[in-house]
C-alpha cells in the first residue's frame, strides 16, 4: 500500500454540491472526474500524478457505490488501451500518467484511439514533469498532442480552473469525438487550494451496460479503408467542431484592458507566474487586473484562429509566453498572422530562453526586454549575480538511498565484486536503484527507460571477456522488463546477468503495490513471485536472495553469476522490503508495544570514536544518511570521525561492510531491550557487578 494512507483524502471525494473542497490539484482532478460521471479510470503512478492513483486505490467502496471501474494499470500503454471502451460506447473514461515518459509508452494506443475517434469523452490527465522537481528528459507533451490530433488543455493553475478544465474537457472530447489531454505541471498537481464542489454523478451508461449490449462499427477500426477515412474526419469534422466548441464556450480568457498598443499571449499554466512578474513591475495586481491586454490560452491545441486575429490586429507587437521548445504555438500564431496579412510582430523566443523552466525571474527579464523594445519603459536592472564564494560552500545534494535501504547492500556488493573481477558494463533502469550512478557508488553506464535495463544491455554479445550486467526494479520488471528484457535475452540467447531489485513496491513513486508485493493487495491480486515468472519465460540460471543485507552472500552470488561458465541469461532477484514502507508499517506497532510495557528490542548501530581514524572508507562503501561524520573528540586529531546518528534502523550494512572489507573494528551493534523481563534484569545486574570488578582489575 502507498507510502502514506489516503483515507482522509478519500472522504473529501464524497462531499456534495456547495461544500468546499480543500486539497491539492491532482486530488481536485479526482473529484472533478467523479463530478463528470466518469465510468472508468486507469493510469500508472509517477510524479507528479501518483496521488491520483493512490487515492483511487484507497477508494474502492466509494467507486463501487458510484459504479465506477478503476484499474491500477500494468503500464501507461495498458491504461491508454482501456480507452477503447469509449470508441463505441458513451462511456466517459479518464487515464493518468507522468509525461512525457508515460505518453511515450502510451503513444501506440493513443494513436489508435485518436484515429478512430471516441463516442464517450476520453480525458488523458498528464503530469508534465518539466522544470524543478522533474526527473526525466525535458520534452513537451504538446508534440504528441499535435502528432495524433489529440486536443491539449493547459488550464490556469488554481483548483476552480483545473476542475472546470476537466468538466469542459469531457464535453470538448464528446463534441469533437477526439480524446483530450489536460496538462498539469508539477506545482499545479501539488497545489493546495479550494473549490466549490458539485455532487458526484453516477455514469448514466456503465461498463456493465456496454458488456450487456455490445456495439461494433468497422469504420471506427484502424484498418483500410477506414484508416484513410479517419484522417479526413479529423480535418473536416473533428477539427472545426473543436475550434467551434472552444470559441463558443470561451475556454480561453481575456485579462486586462480591451484595447492596447501591445498585448501578451500566455499558456494558461504560466498565467500566475506571468501575473506575478507583471505585478512586481507595477503592471498588474493580485487579482489579475493587468495594465496590458492578456490572452490566456487554457486550450493550447487547437489554436482558435479568429481569437488570435482579433487579439493581435491593431497592436504593434504581441509577446508570446510559451515554455519549452520547439515553440509550436509561436509557429502556429505566426502562420495565422501571415495568412491574414496582419503586420503585428509576434515576439517569443527572441526575448525568452528556448530551454529551461519559466520562473518569475525569467519572465521578468523577457518582459523587460520586450517592453524596453516596444514601449518607452527602460530595461530593468539585471539581477545581482549569486555570491560565488557562498556557491562554492553550499554542497550539491544528489538523491540517494534512504536509511537502511535494502538496495544499498546490493550496490555495495557490486562494488566489492568489481574490485575482484574488474569494471563491468552496467545497464541501469529507472527507479530508486538508479541512485547507484551517483556518489558513493558510481555504478551504471546508461539508462534508457523504465523497465528497459535488460534490453539496454542486449547489444553486448559476450565471446570471452566480461558479462554485461543489467539492473531492473520490480516496478520496471512488471511494467515491461519481463518481456522487453528477460524474454528478449532468452530468445536471443544473450549471455548477461540481470539483477532484479525486488523491494515489494513501486517504491520510487511512493510505494504502490504491484504483482509481486508481499502484502495482501486488497482489491488487487499480489504475491506473484518474480522468480516464477522468470523461470516461466525460460531462464535457467535464476537465484533469489531474500536478505540483501547479507553482503557476503550478495557479493558471492554476483561473482558466481558473472563467472559461471553456463551460457544464456542469468537472473538474480535481490529481495528485501523497501525500508521506508517497512518502517511506516512497523514503527507504530513498535512504539505502541513499548508504551504498553511489552518487551521489544530496538537494534541500532554505532561507531566507536576512539578507534575510528577518520578515513571514511565505510561511508564510501555505504552512503547511508544515518552514517555521517562528527568532529573528532581526540584533541590531537583533526579529521572528523564516522558516526551513526539516531535515525539508524539497524539494517546492519555498515557492520557487514567493515567485516567483509576488513575496514576497522569501530562498528558495534547495540540491541536495546525495552521492558526487559525479570530474568533479564537479574542477569544484567549480576553481569554489571562482575564487569565492574573486571574494569578495576
Amino acid at each position: 500500500m502507498a507510502e502514506r494512507s489516503f483515507r482522509k483524502e478519500v472522504e473529501q471525494l464524497r462531499i456534495g454540491a456547495g461544500r468546499e473542497f480543500r486539497g491539492e490539484g491532482i486530488l481536485a482532478v479526482t473529484k472533478a472526474l467523479l463530478q463528470s460521471g466518469v465510468a472508468y479510470v486507469g493510469g500508472y503512478q509517477g510524479a507528479p500524478i501518483s496521488h491520483l492513483m493512490d487515492v483511487f486505490a484507497d477508494a474502492d467502496d466509494l467507486l463501487k457505490e458510484l459504479g465506477v471501474h478503476f484499474e491500477a494499470s500494468a503500464s501507461e500503454a495498458a491504461a491508454a488501451a482501456m480507452c477503447a471502451a469509449s470508441v463505441n460506447y458513451p462511456l466517459r473514461g479518464a487515464v493518468a500518467w507522468k509525461s512525457v515518459v508515460g505518453t511515450n509508452v502510451a503513444s501506440d494506443a493513443l494513436s489508435n484511439v485518436a484515429s478512430g475517434g471516441v463516442t464517450g469523452g476520453v480525458l488523458v490527465i498528464v503530469g508534465e514533469d518539466y522544470g524543478e522537481g522533474s526527473s526525466i528528459m525535458q520534452e513537451r507533451t504538446h508534440a504528441f498532442a499535435m502528432k495524433s490530433q489529440i486536443w491539449l488543455l493547459d488550464p490556469r493553475p488554481n483548483l476552480p480552473s483545473i476542475v472546470e478544465a476537466v468538466e469542459k474537457g469531457f464535453e470538448l472530447s464528446e463534441a469533437s469525438n477526439t480524446p483530450v489531454m489536460i496538462e498539469l505541471r508539477v506545482r499545479a498537481c501539488h497545489l493546495h487550494g479550494r473549490f466549490r464542489a458539485k455532487d458526484n454523478v453516477r455514469p448514466r451508461f456503465t461498463v456493465q451496460d456496454a458488456l450487456a449490449n455490445p456495439v461494433r462499427d468497422t469504420e471506427r477500426i484502424v484498418l483500410p479503408p477506414a484508416n484513410f477515412l479517419h484522417e479526413r474526419e479529423k480535418i473536416e469534422q473533428r477539427w472545426p467542431a473543436a475550434v467551434r466548441f472552444v470559441r463558443e464556450h470561451k475556454l480561453n480568457e481575456r485579462f486586462g484592458p480591451e484595447q492596447g498598443d501591445i498585448g501578451i499571449v500566455v499558456q494558461g499554466g504560466l498565467f500566475n507566474t506571468l501575473n506575478r512578474a507583471l505585478e512586481l513591475m507595477d503592471l498588474s495586481d493580485a487579482f489579475g487586473d493587468a495594465k496590458i491586454p492578456l490572452l490566456v490560452l487554457n486550450v493550447t491545441y487547437p489554436i482558435v484562429p479568429e481569437e488570435v486575429r482579433e487579439f493581435c490586429s491593431g497592436k504593434r507587437a504581441v509577446l508570446l509566453v510559451e515554455e519549452g521548445q520547439p515553440e509550436f504555438i509561436e509557429h502556429e500564431l505566426n502562420t495565422i498572422l501571415r495568412r491574414a496579412d496582419i503586420q503585428t510582430r509576434l515576439i517569443g523566443k527572441e526575448v525568452f530562453p528556448r530551454a529551461g523552466e519559466y520562473t518569475a525571474q525569467v519572465l521578468m527579464d523577457g518582459l523587460g526586454r520586450f517592453l524596453s523594445a516596444w514601449t518607452s519603459r527602460p530595461e530593468p536592472p539585471r539581477p545581482p549575480a549569486p555570491d560565488a564564494a557562498l556557491a562554492a560552500e553550499v554542497p550539491q545534494r544528489p538523491a540517494g538511498f534512504c536509511t537502511g535501504c535494502p538496495e544499498r547492500p546490493l550496490f555495495t556488493a557490486l562494488k566489492l565484486a568489481q574490485r575482484d573481477l574488474g569494471e563491468h558494463h552496467v545497464s541501469a533502469d529507472i527507479g530508486c536503484h538508479l541512485f547507484s550512478i551517483l556518489p558513493p557508488f558510481h555504478i551504471g553506464n546508461t539508462t534508457v527507460g523504465y523497465g528497459l535495463g535488460a534490453a539496454g544491455a542486449s547489444a553486448f554479445r559476450r565471446h570471452d571477456g566480461k558479462r554485461p550486467i543489467a539492473i531492473m526494479g520490480d516496478g520496471g520488471f512488471w511494467h515491461n522488463g519481463l518481456t522487453s528484457g528477460i524474454g528478449n535475452a532468452v530468445f536471443n540467447r544473450d549471455d548477461s546477468l540481470t539483477i532484479v531489485v525486488d523491494n515489494g513496491y513501486s517504491a520510487a513513486t511512493g510505494g504502490q503495490d504491484l504483482l509481486s508485493s508481499a502484502g495482501d493487495g486488497g482489491a488487487r491480486s499480489t504475491r506473484h513471485a518474480i522468480e516464477t515468472a522468470v523461470r516461466g519465460i525460460g531462464v535457467g540460471w535464476v537465484r533469489t536472495i531474500d536478505n540483501t543485507y547479507d553482503l557476503r552472500r550478495m557479493r558471492d552470488a554476483v561473482k558466481d553469476a558473472l563467472t559461471t561458465d553456463g551460457r544464456g541469461p542469468k537472473v538474480l532477484v535481490a529481495r528485501s522490503e523497501c525500508m521506508l514502507n517497512k518502517q511506516r508499517r512497523l514503527r507504530p506497532r513498535f512504539d505502541k508495544s513499548a508504551r504498553e510495557g511489552r518487551r521489544v528490542v530496538r537494534t541500532r548501530f554505532g561507531v566507536d570514536a576512539d578507534t575510528c581514524t577518520g578515513d571514511h572508507a565505510c561511508i564510501r562503501l555505504s552512503g547511508c544518511p544515518s552514517l555521517t561524520v562528527r568532529p573528532n573528540p581526540d584533541p590531537l586529531k583533526s579529521d572528523p570521525v564516522a558516526h551513526v546518528d539516531n535515525s539508524c534502523v539497524g539494517c546492519g550494512l555498515c557492520g557487514e561492510v567493515s567485516h567483509t572489507e576488513v575496514l576497522c573494528p569501530s562498528f558495534y551493534k547495540a540491541e536495546i531491550v525495552v521492558n526487559p523481563n525479570w530474568l533479564e534484569r537479574l542477569v544484567a545486574g549480576v553481569k554489571q557487578r562482575l564487569l565492574g570488578l573486571l574494569h578495576r582489575a
Partner: protein
C-alpha cells in the same frame, strides 16, 4: 481597507524526509484558521529522496478577497518572499543563492545543524563545508535572522525539527499569528501532539546554545597529552622515549607538529590497543549516551571485528611474525581461519574477559613484529624532519604532517602507508630546493582519493 499585509509569502527549504511537508501543512492550517486564503505548492519527486526540496506558501486575508479569486504565484520570485525557513544550515545558503532572501523584506529562520552531503562525508580527510560562511551570508542578506540548532533542541525534547522550527517561526513575529494559533494547528493535526507541542515550546523559547569552540592546544598541552596517552598505551618508559625524541626540535612550529604526529604514530592501533579501548569503563558510558538508551533498558553490544592472519603475525615476536607473514605452509593452513569477521559481544563476561587479557598483552608490545616495523618508520621519519629543520623549517612542518596519511586498519592502513612512503621517497630525491611547496602539494593530492591516483599524477608531474 483591512489592515495587515496584503499578502504573505513563505518559502521552506528542507531535505526530503525532514518533515518540510508537515511544517507546510501546519502553516497552511494556521493561516486558514486565522481567516487567510492559503495556497501552498511543493515539488515532491525522486530528487527528494535525501535531496533538497522547497515548499512555497502564499497567504491573503480573506476579507481582502470579497469572494474574488486571488492570482497567487506557485513559486517564489526573488525579493518577493517575507519569510524563508531553512531546516538545515546549508539550505539557508541555498535559499540565498536562489535570491529568495531580500535585505529589505525577508526574515530568515534557519536551523544551524548540519546534515552533511555525501561529498562532505566521503572525503578522505575533512570535506565539511564552512558553515560560518553561510551564517555570515545569512546575516548580510536577511532583514532579520533567527538561527540556532533546532535539531539538537528537538532531540532533547524527543520531538521533530519541524516542531521546533514552528516554535521559532511563531517567536520570530514574521507572521501575524498568535502562539495559540500555532499550537492549535499542532493539536488539530492529531499526530504525536504531545511531542510536537514540547518541540514547539523549545523552539519558541529557543536560546541559541553557546557555540562550544574547541580551543586548540598549546605545544606544551600537546606534549602533556602525548605523555598521558603513551603511558596508558604502554608505560612511563615509552612516554619517556616520546619526550627524548622531541628534544632535537627547537623551532616551536616544527616541535608542535612533530609532537602531535609522533604521539599519534607511537600509539598506533594494534589488536591490543583496540581491546584496551573497547573494555574501558568510560567507553560503555559514551556508547549508552550515543544510542540514547533509556533507564531500565538493557543493552547488548556486539563489536564487528575482523583480525586477519596479518594481525596475528603483527602480535607475534618480530622474527617469527615476519616469517609467518611472508607465507608458507602455516599461512595456507591457518589463514582461512581468519577469513570471517568476528561478532564480539563485549557485554558478555567471557568476551569481556578475553579482551581484557588481550589488552594486558600490550606489556610485550616492544617485542612484536608490528612494533619493529612502526618503530623503524618513526625513526626514519624523525631523521628526515630533523634534517629538513636544519635548513627549511616550512618543509620540516610539511614533513611533520605527512604521518596524517597513515590511517585506518588493514588495507586502508597499508594504502595510507604506501602514500606516505611515496612522498618520503619523493622528498629524498627532490632534496631541499622545492621543499615545502612540493610536499604540501603531494600531501593534499594524497588526501584527494582513496586509491592514490591523484598522488601518482602529482608525483609524475613533479618528477
Amino acid at each position: 481597507m483591512p489592515e495587515g499585509p496584503a499578502r504573505i509569502a513563505i518559502a521552506i527549504l528542507a531535505l526530503g524526509g525532514q518533515g518540510g511537508g508537515v511544517l507546510a501543512d501546519w502553516l497552511t492550517a494556521v493561516g486558514e484558521a486565522a481567516g487567510y486564503y492559503v495556497q501552498a505548492t511543493s515539488v515532491p519527486g525522486v530528487a527528494q529522496r535525501t535531496g533538497s526540496t522547497i515548499y512555497y506558501l502564499e497567504l491573503v486575508p480573506e476579507e481582502r478577497l470579497r469572494d474574488r479569486q486571488p492570482i497567487l504565484a506557485l513559486m517564489p520570485a526573488p525579493g518577493d518572499v517575507d519569510l524563508v525557513v531553512a531546516l538545515e544550515l546549508m539550505e539557508a545558503g541555498r535559499a540565498i543563492l536562489r535570491g529568495l532572501v531580500a535585505r529589505d523584506r525577508t526574515t530568515l529562520v534557519a536551523s544551524t545543524h548540519r546534515i552533511y552531503a555525501i561529498s562532505e562525508k566521503s572525503a578522505v580527510a575533512n570535506g565539511i563545508a564552512d558553515g560560518a560562511k553561510v551564517l555570515a551570508a545569512a546575516r548580510a542578506h536577511a532583514k532579520d535572522l533567527i538561527a540556532f540548532d533546532m535539531d539538537e533542541l528537538a532531540a532533547r525534547n524527543a520531538s521533530a525539527v519541524s516542531a521546533a522550527m514552528l516554535g521559532a517561526i511563531a517567536a520570530s513575529r514574521a507572521l501575524p499569528f498568535s502562539r495559540q494559533r500555532f499550537e492549535d494547528a499542532i493539536r488539530a493535526s492529531g499526530v504525536a501532539v504531545d511531542a510536537n507541542l514540547a518541540g514547539f515550546a523549545a523552539g519558541y523559547e529557543g536560546r541559541p546554545a553557546a557555540a562550544v569552540a574547541t580551543p586548540s592546544l598549546t605545544t606544551e598541552e600537546i606534549v602533556e597529552e602525548g605523555v598521558r596517552r603513551l603511558t596508558d598505551y604502554l608505560d612511563e618508559d615509552y612516554a619517556g622515549l616520546y619526550r627524548s625524541r622531541l628534544q632535537p626540535f627547537t623551532d616551536p612550529a616544527v616541535k608542535r607538529e612533530v609532537a602531535r604526529a609522533l604521539a599519534l604514530w607511537m600509539s598506533y592501533e594494534d589488536v591490543m590497543r583496540v581491546a584496551q579501548i573497547k573494555t574501558r569503563a568510560s567507553r560503555t558510558a559514551k556508547v549508552l549516551a550515543d544510542i540514547g538508551a533509556g533507564h531500565g533498558q538493557i543493552v547488548h553490544l556486539t563489536e564487528y571485528m575482523h583480525p586477519r592472519w596479518e594481525e596475528l603475525c603483527d602480535t607475534l615476536p618480530a622474527r617469527l611474525g615476519a616469517r609467518l607473514a611472508r607465507g608458507g605452509l602455516p599461512r595456507r593452513l591457518l589463514a582461512p581461519l581468519f577469513d570471517k569477521g568476528r561478532h564480539v559481544r563485549t557485554t558478555s563476561v567471557s568476551w569481556f574477559l578475553a579482551l581484557r587479557i588481550l589488552a594486558a598483552l600490550r606489556r610485550g608490545r616492544r617485542k612484536t613484529y608490528r612494533f619493529a616495523r612502526e618503530n623503524a618508520g618513526i625513526e626514519a621519519w624523525l631523521a628526515a624532519v630533523a634534517g629538513a629543520a636544519q635548513c627549511d623549517t616550512a618543509a620540516a612542518i610539511e614533513l611533520a604532517r605527512c604521518p596524517e596519511l597513515i590511517k585506518g586498519y588493514g588495507d586502508t592502513n597499508a594504502r595510507g602507508r604506501s602514500k606516505f612512503d611515496a612522498i618520503m621517497q619523493a622528498w629524498q630525491r627532490a632534496g631541499t630546493q622545492r621543499g615545502a611547496e612540493l610536499l604540501g602539494r603531494l600531501r593534499r593530492a594524497a588526501l584527494e582519493d582513496e586509491d592514490g591516483t591523484a598522488l601518482q599524477r602529482e608525483l609524475r608531474s613533479s618528477a
